[in-house]
Each structure stands twice: as structure tokens, then as C-alpha cells.
């Protein structure tokens, strides 16, 4: 058991937390402006697919070499921004229900990458493998961790941050003070798109070397949980992401490393001494998400205007 907690585990935690941090900080910008960001998952998927596809194309078709993953990363962010723009128009301009339209985007983004990869690469669901030297394993991690103090600074030490917070708390007051509520909300949602897109890109061209179908597997929702657990504050959100990253890292190390105790063995109709079923271990991060959200946040208070479209004349 002791050899589980090693440098490797810390490293693994950092790597696994990175996409969560990027997406959760993105969500923070959006939610602090008053727009629920349940579509983080969809934006990550868009980012992951686009980044992998563009990196592959830049490398193997255009022979751009070392610039390829950077182009891919930017493309992934752009895809996130594109999806965010659609979401923003629907939610802000047309005042649609944010949960419903966010869910629609999530469902859409499960299908679209499969369709596009079929059309572009003649494969259903995944993009071709990208060579190892054209991956970008470091930069997103550095950016993710750098984004925490940057987000803090923007939120609490710039006029934009002040406006963002006020719009999410009391848009009428912000409007009365001469702040354009919709402009601030568009900015918040688009920043969320860029960061979630980068988080997705890191999954496909940082952690792995191709896009596979539904490869985010709920990380957008875990990021959202981390944001709520972190009370919509940058540093606490970072800590929440690290916690979720850590659980995932542990669950990966545990696979095959721990034997099934007798009690659970009987329960699961397996022989004592067998490995714990992989599926069970993989469940742990999600289980933790539920427990954290249900039990520990308690008094976490969301921005007061979260999810409520702003209507000027009532």
C-alpha cells in the first residue's frame, strides 16, 4: 500500500487535474457572470477532437513539425470558443434555459466528432494516431496552473473582474451603474469556451495521442463539481480539481494493486484474493463527486443571478 504514494502518484495527480483546472476556471468566468456552464463537457469534447484533428493534419499533411501541436491547441481553443458562442447567443440573446441548451450542446458534441472523423479520416469515432514528438504534454499543465493566480487577479483586481462579479450577483445593479450586462456575459462565456477547449485539447494531444469517442468521459461535469466545491473561487477550485485528480490517480494505481477483501468478494460473487474489478475502481472519482456535491458543500452559495436571463424591462 505504501508504495502507492510516490512521486509518480503526485505527477499523475497533476496531469489528471490539468484538464479539470482548465475547464473549471473557464466555468468560473462563465458562472461568475451568471451563466450556468453545464456545457463544459461539450466544449471539452469539441476542443479535444479539433485539437487532435488539426495537429494530425498540420503534422502529416502540411509537415509543420513542432508547430503542429501549438496550432492544434489554438484550434482546440477556437472550437471551444465557437461552441461557447452558440451557447452564449442562445442563452444571452434569446434567453433560453441554460441547463436545457447546455445539455443539448453536450449531447450534440457526443455525436459530431464521430461524424466528422468518419467524413475526414474514414474512421468512426477516433482520429489517427499522432506521433509522440508532436504532442504537447507540458505547456497545458503550466498554463493551467498559471491560470489560477491570473484568474484571481482578473477577478479581484481589474475593472473587468469587478463587473463580471457584479453581473453575476445583481445584473440590475450593474446595469444601473452603466455596465453592459450582455457584453460582460458574452466575455465570460467565451473565456469559458477557450479554457474548456484547451482542457479538451490537452486530453487528446497532451495526455494521449489521438481523439477517441467521448474521451472526456464526464470530466466537464467533474470540473463543474470542482467549481461548486471550490465555491466559485479560483484557489479553492484548484484544490478541488487536485482532489478529483488525486482520486483518479489513486484509482488508476489501485487497478491490479489491491486484492479484493473477503467481504466484498462475497458481495460481488468473486473469489477472495482476486483483483478488485476495474470497473469498480474507475467508479471512485465519480462516486466522490456525488458525495462531495451532496454532502460537503452545504453552504456553498452560487452567484445570486446564476441561471437567470437578464430582462431589462419587467
Amino acid at each position: 500500500m505504501r508504495d502507492l504514494f510516490t512521486i509518480a502518484l503526485i505527477w499523475s495527480t497533476v496531469r489528471l487535474a490539468t484538464p479539470l483546472i482548465l475547464a473549471a476556471l473557464g466555468g468560473l468566468f462563465s458562472e461568475r457572470s451568471g451563466i450556468i456552464n453545464i456545457a463544459l463537457e461539450g466544449k471539452m469534447l469539441a476542443g479535444a477532437f479539433t485539437a487532435a484533428a488539426v495537429t494530425y493534419a498540420a503534422d502529416s499533411k502540411l509537415h509543420l513539425g513542432a508547430a503542429s501541436p501549438w496550432i492544434g491547441l489554438l484550434a482546440g481553443m477556437s472550437a471551444g470558443i465557437f461552441i461557447a458562442a452558440i451557447y452564449a447567443i442562445v442563452c444571452i440573446r434569446y434567453k433560453a434555459d441554460q441547463v436545457v441548451s447546455g445539455t443539448a450542446i453536450n449531447i450534440l458534441m457526443i455525436g459530431v466528432p464521430g461524424f466528422l472523423s468518419g467524413a475526414l479520416f474514414l474512421s468512426s469515432g477516433s482520429t489517427p494516431q499522432i506521433p509522440k514528438e508532436q504532442l504537447i504534454p507540458w505547456a497545458p499543465i503550466i498554463i493551467a496552473f498559471a491560470m489560477v493566480p491570473i484568474t484571481w487577479y482578473v477577478l479581484y483586481r481589474t475593472p473587468f473582474g469587478l463587473r463580471l462579479r457584479s453581473v453575476g450577483e445583481n445584473p440590475e445593479a450593474a446595469d444601473a451603474a452603466g455596465v453592459s450586462v450582455s457584453r460582460i456575459r458574452y466575455s465570460g462565456v467565451l473565456i469559458a469556451g477557450a479554457l474548456a477547449g484547451m482542457g479538451g485539447a490537452y486530453l487528446s494531444i497532451g495526455q494521449s495521442s489521438l481523439f477517441t469517442r467521448n474521451m472526456t468521459s464526464g470530466r466537464g461535469f467533474i470540473a463543474l463539481a470542482a467549481l461548486i466545491f471550490g465555491k466559485w473561487r479560483p484557489v479553492q477550485t484548484l484544490l478541488a480539481c487536485l482532489l478529483f485528480g488525486f482520486t483518479e490517480a489513486v484509482s488508476i494505481q489501485m487497478q491490479g494493486a489491491i486484492k479484493l477483501p473477503a467481504f466484498f468478494a462475497t458481495l460481488l460473487r468473486q473469489t477472495p484474493g482476486d483483483d478488485i474489478p476495474v470497473q469498480f475502481i474507475q467508479m471512485v472519482p465519480y462516486l466522490l463527486t456525488i458525495i462531495v456535491l451532496a454532502g460537503f458543500i452545504g453552504s456553498s452559495r452560487p452567484p445570486r443571478a446564476l441561471g437567470i436571463p437578464y430582462q431589462k424591462e419587467k
Partner: protein, 502 residues
């Protein structure tokens, strides 16, 4: 300075402003008076860019201007303090004041400069407030000062104040008026929206009177008087005195002993309160809004979790502290809530449906089988209430939303009276109600008292509560701080108690 010319504004079927003309001269305090719904706030919200007029123009400093948003209004030197404060309660005073007009650069907010600037303004206009305090920890009076500072910080030359005194005690009103006079002296122009004639006469240089969305007159304050203004406001002679015989008081109907009400985070909103309401009397509770009146009434109506209560509530000697709201109604407690939209009505339901809320599960509204609503019984009941309480329009299929505030209120009052209550809890019975309906509601309340019902009345209108109540308690920060005879006590005495003094 500021002029509204031929302004017309429609909200759906309602003509809120009908060809409104108002001229505000520089360096004056200009009052705009009218009943609720007369269109005062609408006109001023148009001047501030919150609403867009359907037609007409706004003239600032002699020039016609397009004002499409508050941002435009601020740029022209117009500031507004809304009736419901426009403050972000989780942010500090300084953050609220500079919001939208932040000092420093786009990438670095200079909160230090903000603080110094605010302190300068505080001193200049005698508006003491701590720039670092968080809004939600401030009193209403202090929040109002923040709103004034916010407008001044934006270099407002005209300040529009929407019902600024509604949340203040009489003493605070005096202080507030001193501040306004100071501003006038410094060259500022003030527009004050109110429906209190005494205030108009005390503070303003000129008055514009509005009724039904139209301006009925603009006069110099020194050339007019309360009676004339009231006649202009209402369109007929008004007698705003409640006529009631002496109370014929019986035994205690409701007795409250050491009642405290806490919120879920543990703060006490009602603190160790004891009193009795006897059959045949109206017990009034006066206090500045937000001093525990809401929680007290809701605790008595059974709308607050028993876990948040300590002490005892007894109805005719029976302990009902842990009895739920429905059972309390069955025992004879009726409730006219302070916020009729939140607690009183389902706005999209018809008048008929609204008229049976609270009895919707029992005879005669539910048929003998005990399962189905009896349409005929419902119609009969609704028709009765509509007739007895003069609800207009009388079509019971209309949604409650279609009625004016006064008629909505009469529907609720009718519904509650139909329970033939032993105890009536009534909160702000005439808020947002026109003067005609106020007279009607007051007469009904007195009639119910004379029929032997115990009435507990909470009202923010000091004149109302002193006129109606047979006994008057004063509440401050959740405690009963005074018990006076409203026939003897002066407004000043009561005001002092409301402010927490002795």
C-alpha cells in the same frame, strides 16, 4: 436642466406614461407626486435610460438627447437612486461605488484611489460610510448613502430619488432632507419621487403631480398645500381619516410568549417577543421594514419551520407552536401576506381558482366524493367574494395578473374574510393600493374587528397603523421596544422608538 417632453410609454395594455411633460429647473429640489401606479417611476426610469419611451424626447441642458441606457444617462450627469437599491450585496461599498466607472487602468483596478475619492465625497456631502464595509452588513440608511455616493462619484448633476424615505424612520428622514438641502446648496439638482405629501411640502421647491400616467399639474411648492395636492393626485376630495367606534375588547385570542425566530444561519430575527391579541381589537405593530415583522407574522401563520422557533404561540389557550399552516387555518387563523405576489396569489391562475386557495381541499369546494373540485361551488364562492369586496373587473376567468394591485389585494382580503377567522394576521394591507381601495380596506378591517375578530396588523405606513390600531407595539431589531396608545402617542415618540431610542 432636465426636461421630459411628450413622453409616452406603454407596457402591454397599460399606458404607463401618457404624453408626460416635466420641467426640472437647475439647482432646485423637484418633487414628483402621485399615487402608486401613476407613472412617476416609469417617467424617471425613462429619463435614466432604464426604459425606452415609445415616443417623446428628453432634453438635457437645452438639447434633445438620446438616452438608451443608464450608461448614456450617467454620461449626461443624471444619477438615480432606485426604490429597491441597486447594490451588489456581497461586494464592498467602494467596489459598488466605482462599479462601471472604475479608477485605474483596464488591467489594474485602483481601489486605493477609489477609497480616497469616496472619503472626499463623504466629507463634502456629509455622507459618512466606511468604504471597506460589505453592503449586506450595512443598515438600509447606510445603503442609501452608498447609493447617493455612487451617483455623486459619477459626477451626477441631477439626482433622481425614487421613494427615498420609504425605508427610513422619521428621524432619519430629517437627516436625509438635510443632506438633500446641502446638495442643493452645492449646485446639484434633485428630483424626488414620493407619495407622501408632508415630505413634498417639507423639502421641495416645485411639485409635479401625476395621475393615471398623466401630468395633472406643475406648481411651486410655496403656492400650494396638502389638500390641494391630494385633490390633484386623486381627482376628487379625499378624507383620509379612519372612522371607528371604540373597541369592544374580549378575552385573549392569541397569546405569544417569549417567541424567538432564527434564520437557518442562526441570527435571531424575532427576539423574545411576548404579547396578546384580544377578541375585538386591532393590535398594530409599527417598525421600520426588516426589523422582524415579516418573520413574526410568518411564524404565527405557520410558515416558518418549528425548528427555527422557540417560545410558545397559543390560540385560545391551545399551544399551536408546532401546528402546521393548514391546521392553523382550520383553527381560524387567516393571513393577508405582505407580498401578495409571493405568498398571496398564483398570478397566472384565474380569480376563481385564486379565491379557493387554502380551502381547495375541503367542502364546499370539493364535492361530496371528496375527490373532485365542485366547479359550481367554486364559481359561487368567487362571485360572492368579487361582489362583497368590489373586485374589478368582475370576470372570474381572468388571471389574477390582469388585476391592479388594489383589486388583487381586495380578492385576497375577500378570500381570507370568507374563512370567518377568529384571528386575522394582516401585513401591509394597502401597499401599492390606490386611495379609494385603501378607504374600503380600512373599513372592512374595522368591521371585522367589530364582529369580534382579533386582528394583528403590521404596516410600514405609520399613519395607517396609528389610525387603525387600538393598541400599538413598536418593533426594533426583532424586539418589542414600545407599547403605546395610538390615540395619545405622537409620531415623533413612535419614530424614536422605531429607531431603537427610548
Amino acid at each position: 436642466m432636465l426636461e421630459l417632453r411628450n413622453i409616452t410609454k406603454r407596457f402591454g395594455d397599460v399606458l404607463a406614461n401618457d404624453n408626460v411633460n416635466i420641467v426640472v429647473k437647475p439647482g432646485t429640489i423637484h418633487a414628483i407626486v402621485g399615487e402608486n401606479g401613476a407613472g412617476k417611476s416609469t417617467a424617471m426610469r425613462i429619463a435614466y435610460g432604464f426604459y425606452k419611451a415609445d415616443s417623446g424626447e428628453i432634453i438635457v441642458d437645452g438639447q434633445a438627447r438620446q438616452i438608451n441606457s443608464p450608461h448614456d444617462a450617467i454620461a449626461l450627469g443624471i444619477g438615480m437612486v432606485h426604490q429597491h437599491f441597486m447594490l451588489v450585496s456581497t461586494m464592498t461599498v467602494a467596489e459598488n461605488i466605482v462599479l462601471g466607472a472604475e479608477p485605474g487602468s483596464e488591467i489594474a483596478l485602483d481601489l486605493h484611489k477609489a477609497t480616497t475619492d469616496i472619503q472626499g465625497l463623504s466629507e463634502e456631502f456629509k455622507l459618512a460610510v466606511n468604504p471597506h464595509a460589505v453592503i449586506e452588513h450595512l443598515s438600509v440608511g447606510q445603503q442609501q448613502r452608498v447609493e447617493l455616493l455612487k451617483a455623486l462619484y459619477r459626477h451626477a448633476r441631477v439626482l433622481i430619488l425614487d421613494e427615498p424615505t420609504a425605508v427610513l424612520t422619521p428621524q432619519e428622514v430629517d437627516e436625509f432632507f438635510a443632506i438633500l438641502r446641502g446638495m442643493r446648496q452645492q449646485g446639484k439638482t434633485v428630483v424626488i419621487i414620493t407619495h407622501k405629501l408632508s415630505e413634498v411640502l417639507a423639502i421641495s421647491d416645485e411639485v409635479t403631480v401625476m395621475r393615471d400616467g398623466r401630468v395633472v399639474g406643475q406648481v411651486a411648492t410655496k403656492d400650494t398645500n396638502a389638500a390641494e395636492l391630494a385633490r390633484m393626485m386623486v381627482g376628487r376630495e379625499v378624507l383620509l381619516r379612519v372612522e371607528k367606534p371604540d373597541a369592544d375588547v374580549g378575552t385573549a385570542e392569541l397569546s405569544v410568549k417569549n417567541l424567538s425566530v432564527s434564520t437557518s444561519n442562526g441570527t435571531k430575527r424575532v427576539n423574545d417577543v411576548s404579547f396578546e391579541v384580544r377578541k375585538g381589537e386591532i393590535l398594530g405593530i409599527a417598525g421600520v421594514e426588516g426589523n422582524g415583522q415579516t418573520e413574526l407574522i410568518e411564524a404565527l401563520a405557520g410558515l416558518i419551520l418549528a425548528a427555527h422557533l422557540t417560545g410558545a404561540i397559543r390560540l385560545e389557550g391551545r399551544d399551536i407552536t408546532r401546528v402546521n399552516a393548514r391546521a392553523r387555518r382550520e383553527l381560524g387563523i387567516a393571513h393577508i401576506p405582505e407580498d401578495r405576489h409571493r405568498r398571496g396569489l398564483l398570478l397566472d391562475f384565474s380569480l376563481a381558482e385564486n379565491s379557493i386557495l387554502g380551502v381547495h381541499y375541503r367542502k364546499p369546494v370539493v364535492s361530496t366524493a371528496g375527490v373532485f373540485l365542485d366547479d359550481q361551488a367554486i364559481r359561487k364562492r368567487a362571485a360572492q367574494i368579487i361582489e362583497d369586496f368590489d373586485v374589478r373587473p368582475t370576470n372570474q376567468e381572468l388571471p389574477a395578473r390582469a388585476l391592479s394591485g388594489g383589486n388583487q389585494q381586495k380578492l385576497i382580503i375577500g378570500r381570507e374574510f370568507e374563512l370567518h377567522p377568529k384571528l386575522l394576521l394582516v401585513s401591509q394591507p394597502t401597499r401599492g393600493v390606490d386611495i379609494g381601495a385603501i378607504e374600503f380596506i380600512h373599513r372592512k378591517l374595522v368591521a371585522l374587528r367589530d364582529a369580534g375578530c382579533a386582528v394583528l396588523l403590521v404596516s410600514a405606513e405609520l399613519e395607517e397603523v396609528t389610525a387603525l390600531a387600538d393598541r400599538l407595539l413598536i418593533i426594533h431589531e426583532g424586539r418589542i421596544v414600545g407599547d403605546v396608545d395610538p390615540k395619545v402617542a405622537t409620531i415623533e415618540q413612535i419614530g424614536l422608538l422605531m429607531a431603537g431610542g427610548h
